[in-house]
């Protein structure tokens, strides 16, 4: 089978439900979503208005699901959505939206625009309009074990390094432990220090954990590409692994959309509740801190700021936890403007970071975050998402900025009080 226009339109029809109908009906065209959008704000190009990005889905809804639209269709007053239309919308839906969720938050009539972009991507991907990089990642992950290809050797090598560095054993596929840890491919490939950091923190806190050979990858390209079927398959792998190991919970790593996929979309995708809890690593560290199981010694004296990953903070609800941890280990912690739930995206989320075509636009969009960073002028930027980390590394280099980027888990582990 191949992607066709009819499959795409059918996917859009499947996605149109009561919330979508009420959102399209209640939009008052006020334009506040434009002001909230990273891409519109930095380019001032009206095509980047979030609701405009949804126009094709609105047309399908209007023509096929409203009385007047249907009559208009019979009379030939409105045109059906064509493949050329979908092609024209490709860059709007995939390149100029990181699904950061700011527009949803400002919409005065409460329209969840981010959810609708997610739905619209279902139609785009089924009709063959997904970005090639995301399609490639989906194929690699479905056929193998990670979006980056086969990482089974890499994970074993990195775990071995971590065991040596921390002097603490890490066991694969150990049943009955507290948590199963999954990792973002970005962490395995680029930021493996998180493994030894977790090993040391969990050892001190008496938390038992394991990694599954069957499902160690946390990322879920189905969410970014917009394919429920692919997303469901990938979530199911994690669920099956966790349930067969009989763990109490699954630790979602420092990765934005992985948290979104497993914690919020997952149960809806597989159609049932999990037999385990999903907890973000930073959420867990803050719990351990509150229970007195996580103690630190000394503080980093450099000027540190914190970058909120959209999917974990704004769309995930983890806002105070990282700040409590930051204050444990940072002597000079400064916040940027709009920090917290209204934070501006790094520009790499929602699959935009993987999309080569979007790179120039992504660099323009980063200017907002850059201006805010420049204003507080920190020595280093701390975050809790490996992909934000990766994107920040790249754009800081692009703009010749000197700041170092740090992962919060690693930073906390650095000041772990081994004697407590």
């Amino acid at each position: 089978m191949t992607a066709t226009l009819e499959r795409g339109l059918n996917a859009l029809r499947e996605q149109i439900d009561a919330p979508v109908a009420s959102f399209f009906t209640s939009c008052v065209s006020c334009g506040l979503c434009a002001e909230a959008c990273l891409f519109y704000r930095e380019t001032e190009d009206p095509q980047y208005t979030p609701i405009k990005k949804l126009d094709l889905m609105r047309r399908v809804w209007s023509r096929e699901f409203t009385l007047l639209g249907r009559i208009g269709g019979w009379l030939g007053l409105t045109k059906p959505v064509t493949d050329a239309d979908l092609t024209a919308w490709e860059t709007l839906v995939y390149d100029s939206c990181t699904m950061c969720g700011r527009c949803t938050l400002v919409c005065p009539v409460g329209n969840d625009l981010t959810m609708m972009i997610r739905k619209m991507r279902e139609g785009m991907s089924a009709s063959g309009h997904g970005p090639v990089e995301l399609i490639g990642a989906a194929q690699r992950h479905i056929d193998g074990n990670s979006a980056m290809g086969d990482l089974s050797k890499a994970i074993h090598a990195q775990v071995k390094n971590a065991v040596e560095a921390a002097g603490i054993p890490i066991e694969f596929d150990k049943p009955g432990v507290d948590y199963m840890v999954i990792l973002s491919a970005q962490e395995i490939a680029e930021f493996p220090d998180v493994l030894s950091a977790m090993a040391r923190i969990f050892k001190k806190a008496d938390v038992t954990w394991t990694i599954s050979n069957a499902a160690f990858e946390a990322t879920n390209v189905g969410i970014q590409l917009g394919s429920r079927d692919i997303a469901r398959t990938l979530v199911q792998r994690v669920v099956d692994a966790a349930e067969s190991l009989g763990v109490k919970g699954v630790i979602s790593p420092e990765c934005g959309h992985a948290y979104q996929a497993l914690r919020w979309e997952g149960p809806n995708l597989i159609g049932r509740a999990y037999n385990f809890e999903v907890i973000h690593i930073i959420e867990l560290l803050d719990q351990l801190r509150a229970q007195g199981k996580l103690k630190t010694k000394g503080k980093n004296s450099r000027k540190l700021t914190f970058h909120d990953p959209c999917q974990i903070n704004r769309r995930g609800g983890i806002n105070k936890e990282p700040r409590r941890l930051m204050n444990m280990v940072a002597e000079n912690f400064v916040e940027t403007e709009d920090a917290g739930t209204m934070n501006w995206c790094c520009g790499g989320g929602g699959g935009v970071g993987a999309n080569e075509r979007a790179a120039p636009l992504r660099n323009i969009a980063f200017k907002r975050k850059k201006a805010q960073i420049d204003k507080v002028n920190p020595d280093a930027i701390v975050t809790m998402c490996a992909y934000c980390h990766h994107t920040l590394d790249n754009v800081l280099e692009e703009f010749n900025m000197e700041q170092e980027v740090l992962g919060l888990t690693e930073l906390v582990a650095e000041y772990l009080d081994e004697d407590a």
């Binding site: 089978m1 992607a3 499947e14 439900d17 009385l67 399609i135």
Partner: protein, 362 residues
């Protein structure tokens, strides 16, 4: 009529205390929707304002407006305010007659050219000027001649403001409002049949103290005509609860319920009747049990019957409305079912997306 005493002296001769005067200033200030801080300014302005010359022209009218203003419960301060202007010509009130009367008007115009205030009551017939003349001068000519030297014009009563009863269909005299003839002078419309006395004196007071008041689209001072009678009506709670008098002798009428169904024009009529009331604040038509006629609105004579409710369509509207609801619901349900069927079809047509399905064959 020149060299009249200033207001404080007038007050003394009429036995009005300063306290009563200040009370009047305060109520006038609130009536004009001004801040309480303005009371001293109003008092000062009224005390020291140079009394402008006022020429009052009565055209095609019933003298009801003059009756109203002179019936402002003498000796009230309103009366004094009126006395405090130099009323140089008013053919109903002045003692002079014949040539002497017209000479007074001409003299006042000459002495105060460009500064006097022109008050007009009554409409102006333009079909044949002979329908209404004073001293052999047609209303049209007299208005044009007198308006030329006026600082501003106050059209008192609905006839002068909008044509009134003279203008009502079929308008045999071709009666028109002042504003249709004079277009180059500021015109303040004080409609009403007749206007409330304190509204007339209030507008004059505003003109003396602060100049021309803020006007609405129909040229009426917003301070007095800004709100509808309905919005300020003490029977409004009955309207909100849907309790209406259906005839003038039913339980509703006796119980003081809303008169909407008996033709009350309160919802579309802007006037201060419901707040200021009439006869020194005693009552107003709705309080007396009669629906509002809407006399401060243009063409109130021709807006359907006085006892016909507002905005009620002819025919059996209840059945029509019911049919519309049933029809709308049917169309809506059918549309929803079609949408639901479309969605079910789409779900059925879903082919599971495989990661290798994401590219087009070409």
């Amino acid at each position: 009529m020149a060299n009249k005493p200033l207001l404080p002296e007038m007050m003394k001769t009429h036995g009005v205390s300063r306290r009563a005067f200040l009370k009047y200033c305060a109520s006038l200030t609130s009536l004009m929707a001004l801040s309480p801080a303005m009371v001293p300014r109003v008092a000062k302005a009224l005390e020291s304002a140079p009394r402008p010359s006022v020429i009052w022209l009565s055209f095609q009218e019933c003298t009801g407006c003059t009756e109203s203003i002179t019936r402002s419960h003498s000796p009230t301060i309103e009366d004094l305010i009126f006395n405090s202007v130099s009323l140089d010509y008013h053919h109903t009130l002045q003692a002079a007659s014949g040539h002497a009367a017209e000479a007074a008007r001409e003299q006042a115009m000459k002495d105060n050219y460009g500064k006097y205030l022109l008050v007009v009551d009554g409409s102006i017939p333009i079909k044949d000027p002979g329908y209404s003349c004073i001293a052999g001068i047609s209303n049209l000519d007299m208005l044009k001649e007198t308006a030329a030297g006026a600082a501003a014009i106050v059209s008192v009563g609905t006839c002068a403001a909008y044509g009134g009863v003279g203008h009502a269909n079929p308008n045999p005299t071709g009666a028109v409002a002042v504003s249709e003839i004079i277009t180059d002078k500021p015109i303040i419309n004080v409609p009403g049949c007749p206007p409330i006395p304190v509204v007339m004196t209030g507008v004059l007071a505003h003109f003396l103290t602060f100049g021309i008041p803020e006007l609405d689209a129909l040229g009426r001072p917003k301070a007095f005509f800004g709100e509808s009678i309905h919005d300020r009506c003490y029977r409004r709670p009955f309207y909100d609860k849907g309790k209406f008098a259906e005839s003038f002798d039913d339980e509703g009428a006796r119980g003081g319920w809303c008169l909407y169904k008996l033709g009350c024009k309160g919802p579309t009529t802007h006037s201060a009747c419901a707040t200021v009331k009439w006869n020194n604040g005693v009552s107003f038509p709705i309080e007396a049990g009669h629906p509002c006629l809407g006399c401060t609105e243009p063409d109130f004579w021709d807006n359907g019957g006085f006892y016909k409710p507002l905005s009620v369509p002819s025919g059996d509207y209840r059945k029509m409305g019911l049919a519309a609801i049933v029809g709308g619901a049917a169309i809506g349900t059918a549309s929803a079912l079609l949408s639901k069927a479309g969605k079910a079809k789409a779900v059925k047509a879903h082919e599971t997306v495989n990661a290798h399905d994401l590219e087009k064959s070409s």
